[in-house]
C-alpha cells in the first residue's frame, strides 16, 4: 500500500516536472530582463538629500514628463536622445560628484538603464538609482 502511494507520488512529481524541464530548455538562452538592482546602487530621497549640492539629479523620463515637472536642477537624460543629451550632462559633471538617476516610479526601468550606461559607457563612478523614482520624490516634499 505504502509503496503504491510512493510510486503514485513519484509519477505525479515526474509529470509536474516535465513542463518545467521543457521550459528551462526552451528558455535556456533567455535571461531575465529585469534582475533586481543591488542595494549598493540604490539611494533613498532622504540619503540623496544628505549629499546636498554634491548630487547631480538625472531625470530619465521622456521629454514630455521632464517638461511637466522635475526635481529642481535636474538634467534630462533619456535613451530617446542619449547622444544629444549626454554631452550636456557631462558638461556639468565633475569628479567627486554623485549622480542620482530617477524615472517615474518603483516599477519603471529607465533610471536603471541610464545608470548602467553611465557606468559602462561613460565609465562614471558613484551612479545611483533613486528608490521609488519621481513618485518617491513627490511624497517626500
Amino acid at each position: 500500500m505504502t509503496s503504491s502511494l510512493v510510486r503514485q507520488a513519484l509519477i505525479l512529481a515526474a509529470l509536474a516536472l516535465l513542463p518545467g524541464v521543457g521550459e528551462a530548455i526552451y528558455f535556456r538562452h533567455k535571461i531575465s530582463w529585469q534582475s533586481p538592482i543591488p542595494p549598493s546602487e540604490l539611494v533613498t530621497v532622504a540619503q540623496a538629500h544628505v549629499w546636498g549640492e554634491n548630487v547631480i539629479w538625472v531625470d530619465a523620463r521622456p521629454d514630455e514628463e521632464f517638461a511637466r515637472d522635475h526635481v529642481p536642477g535636474a538634467l534630462s537624460l533619456n535613451e530617446d536622445r542619449w547622444n544629444e543629451l549626454l554631452p550636456q550632462f557631462l558638461a556639468v559633471w565633475s569628479p567627486g560628484r554623485k549622480i542620482v538617476v530617477y524615472c517615474s516610479s518603483l516599477s519603471c526601468n529607465a533610471s536603471r538603464e541610464i545608470a548602467v550606461r553611465l557606468r559602462k559607457e561613460a565609465q562614471l563612478p558613484d551612479v545611483f538609482v533613486l528608490e521609488g523614482g519621481w513618485e518617491a520624490w513627490l511624497k517626500s516634499k
Binding site: N83, E121, A122
Partner: protein, 219 residues
C-alpha cells in the same frame, strides 16, 4: 490505479484547456531591426477560442518608448485579431525587452503579458564614451577603444574633434578593433570637445566627449 492517474492528469489538462478563451499565437516576439530603422513593430495575434465575447479592458506598455494598439475593443467568439506594439528605438543599444500588459474580462485569463524583444544592431561599441583630465593634470593621451559589431565590417574610421584643444590619433588594433588616442594641448583651461566617430562608407555617426574638468568636490 494507473487509470486513476491517467484520468487525473487528463482532467487537469482538460480544465486548463477550457479556461483560456483568448488564445495567443505567441506572447513573445523577437525583432531584428536594421541600423537605419527608427522603430520596430511586433504583431501579437490572438483568437477567441471560447463561446463568449472577450472585451479588452486595458492595454498598457512598460515604457513610454513603446505604444500598443488593439484593432477592436471586443472580440466575438471565433474571431481573430492582433495587438500591434511599436517600439521607438531612439538612441537605445543592445537587446531591449519591453512588455505590454493586456487586461480582458475573460475571468479565466484576465491578464496577459506580451514581450517584445528587440535586438538592436550595434555597428560600433565605444568604450569609454567620455575621457577627462582634471585641471592642471599632466596632459597625457587617453585611449578610447572602438569595437566593430559582429555583423558589420568596418575597415577604417574617421575621428573629428569639435575643438582644436584636443588632438586625436586613430590606430587599427586588428580583429575589428580601433584605438583612438585623445590628447589635450594643455589642461589649464576648462575646455571640452565632442569627438565625432564615423565608420567609412556609413552615414551613421557615433560620439564621445573629451573634457578638462575642475578639481574634485570635497564632501
Amino acid at each position: 490505479m494507473k487509470t486513476h492517474i491517467l484520468a487525473f492528469t487528463l482532467s487537469i489538462i482538460v480544465c486548463f484547456g477550457a479556461r483560456a478563451e483568448l488564445k495567443w499565437d505567441k506572447t513573445e516576439v523577437e525583432l531584428h531591426p536594421t541600423p537605419a530603422d527608427k522603430q520596430a513593430v511586433g504583431h501579437f495575434t490572438y483568437q477567441n477560442a471560447g463561446k463568449e465575447p472577450v472585451h479588452f479592458k486595458s492595454v498598457h506598455a512598460s515604457c513610454g518608448c513603446t505604444t500598443a494598439q488593439t484593432q477592436k475593443d471586443q472580440v466575438p467568439p471565433g474571431e481573430k485579431g492582433e495587438i500591434t506594439a511599436t517600439f521607438t528605438i531612439g538612441d537605445r543599444t543592445g537587446t531591449q525587452v519591453k512588455t505590454v500588459t493586456v487586461e480582458t474580462d475573460d475571468p479565466a485569463n484576465p491578464k496577459t503579458v506580451l514581450t517584445l524583444r528587440t535586438i538592436i544592431p550595434q555597428q560600433l561599441e565605444i568604450t569609454p564614451t567620455f575621457v577627462f583630465w582634471k585641471q592642471g593634470e599632466k596632459p597625457d593621451a587617453k585611449t578610447i577603444t572602438v569595437k566593430v559589431g559582429k555583423e558589420f565590417t568596418v575597415n577604417h574610421i574617421k575621428v573629428t574633434s569639435s575643438s582644436p584643444d584636443f588632438q586625436t590619433k586613430v590606430e587599427e588594433a586588428g580583429k575589428g578593433e580601433f584605438k583612438i588616442d585623445v590628447q589635450p594641448k594643455e589642461t589649464n583651461n576648462l575646455v571640452a570637445s565632442t569627438l565625432t566617430i564615423q565608420p567609412e562608407d556609413s552615414q551613421k555617426v557615433f560620439y564621445a566627449t573629451a573634457r578638462i574638468t575642475n578639481a574634485p568636490t570635497v564632501q
